[in-house]
Amino acid sequence: MKTTSEVLADGNSHQNWVPLLEVAAQEVFELMLSCKIAIAETPVDFQPDITAMVGLAGQLCGVLTIRCSAKSAGLMASKMLGVEVDKASPELCDAFGEVCNMVAGNFKNKVSGLGDGCMLSVPTVITGTDYNLRSLTDSAAVEVRFLFESMPLIITLEVHS
């Protein structure tokens, strides 16, 4: 049986995290937004224009990002706060960042032995499309794609071994 450190260092094991990341995200949407997100069976071509990210440091180093359209993020804020979309728009970035924070936290709590040894940064939210995000990771990214209210949502975990 591998130790937590060995599992974390094994780049191939990261794909085993896909189901954990899927469940972590689905739980956040069900409990905090009272809605379900469906796993996208086929890739959807779209241009995300808002990105939330949370850094992970410690036993697991990397960054977790959530990308979607601003319209999706506005709907998330609306559902979280229980108000109309236009009333939620001032809180859009805060709400979207919190979704990312909760997905990252929920994910790390599901990886055995990781809860104590991994810290999360405060979330950061980027709006717009004209940027490149480069994290100092050296392993293949774990990516899961969902449909939130029929709109694409991509969650990516990039890990530094």
Partner: protein
């Protein structure tokens, strides 16, 4: 005790609103709700205000939730006030740290209003 004054400490204003809504859904009448973005702000509010319940995140800038809870014994207005942590940090070590520091309850994010009710109502009943 159904009518209370609550202090909600979280660096996310959205999360503070969600926690407040959960308290209302738990059947509590909130006569006052104070919000703070970190532990230091919360200590400042407690210097001038009395509350019946404190709900607190852990990961916050300036002063985190664990440090805030550790400082509460020196705050007259916090004497006997139950503190419940609401946080993404879900490890046993964090739970033990929080409870050892003086927190009376621990709720992991994401959470449901029912979980808030389960953790908060008994604490208020004991205090009453």
């Amino acid at each position: 005790m159904n009518s209370i004054r609550a202090l909600i400490v979280d660096d996310s204003s959205v999360m503070r609103k969600i926690v407040e809504r959960s308290l209302v859904q738990a059947g509590l009448e909130l006569t006052a709700v104070l919000g703070a973005g970190n532990g230091a702000e919360a200590l400042g509010l407690l210097a001038e205000n009395q509350v019946d319940l404190i709900l607190c995140d852990i990961n916050m800038p300036v002063m985190d939730g664990l440090e805030f809870v550790k400082q509460l014994p020196g705050v007259p207005n916090a004497k006997g006030v139950p503190v419940v942590m609401i946080t993404t940090e879900g490890s046993e070590a964090h739970v033990v740290q929080a409870l050892s520091a003086g927190a009376r309850g621990y709720i992991r994010k994401p959470f449901t209003p029912d979980q808030v009710k389960e953790h908060v109502i008994p604490l208020l009943a004991v205090k009453a």
